[in-house]
């Protein structure tokens, strides 16, 4: 049985970016179809650590991050659940003087961005966060940041979009997209044909082939987060914890479980699927027990992982296609998309409605890879594995 649909906007990928864009667009009166190859919110948006964090982002992400910052406390009104969002503050730890100097430099660099970072020395840390063990020389505290439950937030946006009238099509992989006159034609599983004026490519780790099919190859790779969850504990940690050098991150949810992340999982035979490495998980667990004495008698009850899209410069691709009018990209968030995603959704909706947005997104243009694509054959796979840019290096 074949089915045809005609909408203003077709969104490929029902993660937090796609579903928040869908909800925003519906609010503007557009007809929207949201397509996901599996279940909405089941990939990177739903399996990430859950940090709602501005601190530590590259400066070019901060305007977007600030925009999203305003969305988080409004979740209940927006999608009907608060997503367990907790404005706990985000404390980034430094293990040595060099790390502390990096935190100080960062704080100075972004001083004008409104994050209200507070640098805390060793004694201050002892006084205010006595539950942190030895081996930490200082920290940088962002009081407005926090954490939330990714499983609920991403699924909640998709459910709210459906309630708002978005055609949410799960288990519906998009098999091909072409430009057909002033419209796009999408072929999807189940003999579904879709025509739309706009297409948003928010397919996460699966976004590459869609960009490439419009002549815009991108060096998108995959990363797999690795998380450990403890049994529920009496309150141990009051803030969302990060660490310079990304050694470990940890937060305690209201129910009492402590979520500890770090290391990377490895893909299984099917690279869509991954699983934490046993020794990697052990290493995270041991580090957590060393850093937080309150966890020394805790049991780890569950690990998880997932698939996330990553870019070599760790910035996402957000914005209009350079080759195809009506096509918008938003993917490659490199393990740091959760907090900014609701802001990205709003920006995408504005780009559809107005063709522009006041939030600066030039740094995320897909055009920054033009040189690569001009020199290499799009289908060859060359240029897909560039070295990551070093801090301070000038980006193309």
């Amino acid at each position: 049985m074949s089915r045809r649909l005609e909408v203003d906007v077709a969104i490929i990928g029902g993660g937090l970016v796609g579903s928040s864009a869908a909800l925003a667009l519906r609010g503007m009166g557009f007809s929207v179809a949201l397509l996901d190859k599996g279940f909405c919110g089941a990939q990177a948006s739903g399996v990430n650590y859950g940090g709602v964090r501005r601190q530590g982002r590259p400066i070019e992400q901060l305007p977007l991050s600030q925009r999203a910052h305003a969305v988080w406390p409004r979740l209940k009104a927006l999608i009907g659940i608060d997503g367990e969002f907790l404005r706990s503050g985000h404390l980034k730890l430094a293990r040595n003087e060099a790390d502390m100097a990096a935190l100080e430099t960062y704080a100075a660099t972004i001083a004008e961005q409104g994050l209200d970072l507070e640098l805390i020395g060793h004694n201050g840390l002892r006084e205010r966060f006595g539950w942190i063990g030895d081996g930490v020389v200082g920290a940088s505290f962002c009081p407005g940041d926090g954490h939330a439950n990714p499983r609920l937030v991403s699924t909640g946006f998709a459910a709210a979009a459906r309630r708002a009238g978005v055609e949410v099509l799960e288990n519906t992989p998009v098999e091909g997209v072409t430009r057909d006159g002033d419209r796009f034609a999408l072929d999807a599983a189940g003999n579904l044909t879709l025509r739309s004026r706009f297409v948003i490519n928010s397919a996460g780790a699966w976004a590459g082939p869609f960009a490439e099919s419009f002549g815009e190859p991108v060096p998108l790779s995959r990363i797999y987060p690795s998380m450990v969850v403890t049994e529920p504990m009496a309150p141990v940690m009051s803030v969302n914890i990060g660490m310079t050098g990304r050694g470990i991150y940890a937060r305690q949810v209201e129910r009492g479980n402590v979520v500890v992340g770090g290391e990377r999982a490895l893909p299984l035979g099917d690279v869509d699927l991954s699983r934490p490495r046993g020794e990697g998980a052990l290493s995270i667990m041991n580090r957590a027990a060393a850093l937080f004495p309150g966890l020394r008698h805790a049991q780890a009850i569950r690990f998880w992982s997932g698939t996330e899209g990553a870019m070599p410069d760790e910035n996402p691709v957000i914005g209009p296609s350079r080759t195809t009018p009506g096509l918008l990209h938003a993917f490659g968030f490199t393990g740091a998309g959760f907090q900014i995603a609701p802001g990205v959704g709003e920006v995408l909706a504005e780009l559809v409605r107005d063709g522009e947005t006041e939030t600066p997104i030039e740094a995320f243009s897909i055009g920054r890879f033009k040189e690569i694509s001009a020199r290499t054959d799009a289908g060859s796979g060359a240029g897909q594995n560039q070295e990551p840019h070093q801090p301070g290096e000038i980006r193309p």
Partner: protein, 466 residues
């Protein structure tokens, strides 16, 4: 590893030292291999032939009844393998992948490379949530049996056994024989279902007759047998005080201080899942189970399944399936194996399989119960999620797949990872969304398969220095 392997290839790994694991180990040793056997219990025998923690004067006959000879043979045969295999009791295999296993033993975690994996992981009781099922004094049937066998403890002084499956009558009978006061047996199936057992007579007359004798002895011993019970509630505030049920439209209530409850068994499939085995729906067990051929081969080369961990067939089948899977491993390695023995084992297993069909008809799972689970009844005891919260999550998020239900409701996220609540959650989801039970899927397994300490240290790896 110990470097004593008689083969140039790495050791085969056998998980579980119950009837299936023991017979698999025996067959591999006989062929000259040196398997590593990993088992969570302190002594071999599995749950069915579990040994006493300390000698307490009870004989094998006291412990295992008519199955005493089988138990003794298994314990003796496994002991006779000493020195020709490696055996790690009290060891938890908590993670598995691509020929490597993470095993917690003696307080540290060792990573073991294996070549050939026999999973004989057994089963646990299957339950549906009922009011009061989390009260102290409520045990699963298997748990009640373990308490008696292993520790010589009764679960109460006035005990009611509730549910379905052969274990219901067996455990009640064992308790009565041990001198405990059994107040009643509440069978969820109507008496008429038991006529199905007559079809089992030609297949296994001794088992059917033994079952009939146990039932008769329970009656003679003054134990009330009630059939077709429904709407069961276990009452009490701090512990079990009574059990109430409906039968033929009438309300019944009985004071008791211990309840043994179970609706047959469910396979422990986590390791097969982590090993990458594909799963398929099994109508008889009403569950998605790892696929295997008649020899125990899975969809993954070198991974074999035996015993109740791959589908409920009981201890006699487990012994045969354990040996059969070992023969398959030998054959797949190009080693000599006894093909006629393999054929005999497969024929035996097929006959036992037909008998399990009969038992399933005689002890059906009360799938209709799920309709009546009250919103206030706890579904997931680890995460303290009530049935009403699950129903609300299903509606609010439009969920119709079990892992999505887990994501939005927390069911199956706690210490047991859904081993206890998973079956009930699947039944509830299927009912609420008007889908078949097989359509809602199964909870994907994740390491660690059971909780491990955060401070668990990785043992030094001698071979890692190469």
């Amino acid at each position: 590893m110990n470097g004593q392997s008689t083969s140039e290839r790495q050791q085969p790994l056998i998980v579980g030292a119950g009837p299936a694991g023991i017979r698999a180990a025996q067959a591999l040793v006989k062929a000259g291999l040196r398997p590593l056997v990993v088992d969570e219990s302190p002594a071999c025998g599995g749950q069915i032939y579990r040994q006493r923690l300390v000698p307490d004067g009870r004989s094998s006959r006291d412990l295992y009844g008519s199955e005493a000879q089988k138990a003794e043979a298994l314990h003796r045969d496994f002991a006779a393998l000493d020195g020709r295999l490696d055996y790690w009791p009290q060891a938890l295999l908590w993670n598995l992948r691509d020929g490597r296993a993470d095993i917690m033993v003696e307080g540290t975690s060792r990573q073991v490379a294996y070549d050939g994996l026999v999973l004989a992981t057994g089963a646990t009781d299957r339950i549906l949530p009922i009011p009061g099922w989390t009260l102290p004094g409520v045990f699963t049937l298997g748990g009640a049996q373990i308490a008696l066998k292993s520790q010589g403890c009764a679960i109460g002084s006035r005990i009611v056994f509730l549910g379905s499956g052969p274990l219901l009558y067996l455990v009640a009978w064992q308790y009565m024989k041990a001198g405990a006061k059994v107040a009643a047996v509440l069978d969820t199936a109507p008496f008429s279902a038991k006529f199905n057992l007559l079809r089992g007579l030609p297949l296994f007359p001794s088992i059917v007759l033994r079952g009939m004798r146990m039932t008769a002895e329970l009656k003679l011993g003054g134990v009330a047998l009630h059939y077709g019970v429904g709407d069961v509630r276990i009452e009490g505030t701090e512990k079990v005080g009574a059990i109430a049920w409906r039968q033929d439209g009438l309300e019944h209530r009985l004071a008791c201080d211990g309840v043994g409850y179970g609706l047959a068994l469910r396979s422990e499939t986590q390791l097969a899942d982590l090993a990458g085995c594909s799963f398929a729906f099994n109508q008889r067990d009403r569950a998605l189970l790892p696929e295997r051929d008649a020899a125990g081969r899975t969809s993954v080369a070198g991974v074999y399944l035996a015993g109740d961990g791959a589908g409920i067939t009981g201890a006699d089948a487990a012994e045969r399936a354990g040996e059969r899977s070992a023969l398959a491993l030998l054959q797949d390695r190009g080693l000599p194996h006894d093909a006629s023995r393999a054929a005999t084992l497969e024929a035996d297993l097929a006959r036992i399989g037909r008998f399990r069909d009969v038992l399933e008809a005689a002890f059906p799972f009360p799938a209709h119960w799920v309709r009546d689970i009250a919103d206030t009844t706890t579904l997931c005891r680890c995460e303290e999620i009530k049935a009403g919260e699950v129903r609300a999550a299903i509606g609010q998020f439009g969920v119709h797949e079990l892992n999505r239900l887990k994501a939005v409701s927390r069911i199956g996220m706690g210490r047991c990872q859904g081993r206890i609540c998973g079956a009930g959650a699947a039944e509830l989801l299927a009912h609420e969304t008007n889908r078949n039970i097989e359509a809602v899927g199964r909870l994907r397994s994740q390491a660690p398969i059971k909780p491990v300490p955060l401070t668990l240290a990785l043992a030094a790896q001698p071979e890692a220095a190469e």
